[in-house]
């Protein structure tokens, strides 16, 4: 398999694995510009989550840099009554997983 196909397959594998975890409601991969590149949710939710979370991540990053310029964000969790949104940022993308923790 070409490297591209192999990486693509790996991503699919990972997404499938996460999606099969109990309680997982949705997964979105967003690029550094806030544009969703993959999602297991419907279009509307995807677009909405991507935009809002992109802004939140930017804010969290800049807040951290203001507190300590040498520190950086590695993970973000937003818990609400109904579910939990986990955000794993990377250089070029970030991964969003929405789960119901009590499922």
């Amino acid at each position: 398999m070409s490297l591209r196909r192999k990486k693509g397959a790996e991503v699919e594998e990972t997404l499938k694995r996460i999606q099969s975890q109990k309680g997982v409601q949705g997964i979105i991969i967003v690029n550094s510009e806030g544009i969703p590149v993959k999602s297991t949710l419907d279009n509307q939710s995807t677009v909405q989550y991507s935009a809002l979370i992109h802004q939140l991540v930017m804010k969290a990053r800049s807040t951290l840099r203001d507190i300590d310029p040498q520190n950086d964000l590695t993970f973000l969790r937003v818990r609400s009554k109904k579910n939990e949104i986990m955000i794993a940022p990377d250089k070029d993308y970030f991964l969003i997983v929405i789960q119901n923790p009590s499922a």
Partner: protein, 96 residues
């Protein structure tokens, strides 16, 4: 009032906890185990982030309520909880 001090003391005594701050909705710290300068800085910077997180949840689902925000960084973890009138910030060393 003494109850609040108890709780702050208990949290601060937990292994790995570096600081605990309680502030009101106007951004005024009412309790802190950190020195003034840091307290003011944390409160001023974290409050807008908290507001943003709350707004995000509101927009996604107005019937949902914010519970907590956990910001994991390379050096530590910042846990932010809030209710109507106050918010609390706890800074701890990351879990091993």
């Amino acid at each position: 009032m003494a109850e609040v001090d108890e709780i702050v003391k208990r949290l601060q005594a937990q292994k790995g906890v570096e600081g605990v701050i309680i502030a009101n909705s106007e951004g005024i710290a009412i309790r802190s185990t950190l020195e003034d300068q840091h307290t003011v800085q944390y409160v001023a910077l974290i409050q807008p982030l908290l507001v943003k997180a709350k707004k995000m949840l509101q927009e996604m689902d107005p019937s949902d309520d914010f519970t907590y925000l956990r910001v994991r960084t390379e050096k530590n973890e910042i846990i932010i909880t809030a209710d109507k009138e106050y918010f609390m910030v706890a800074i701890q060393k990351p879990a091993p």
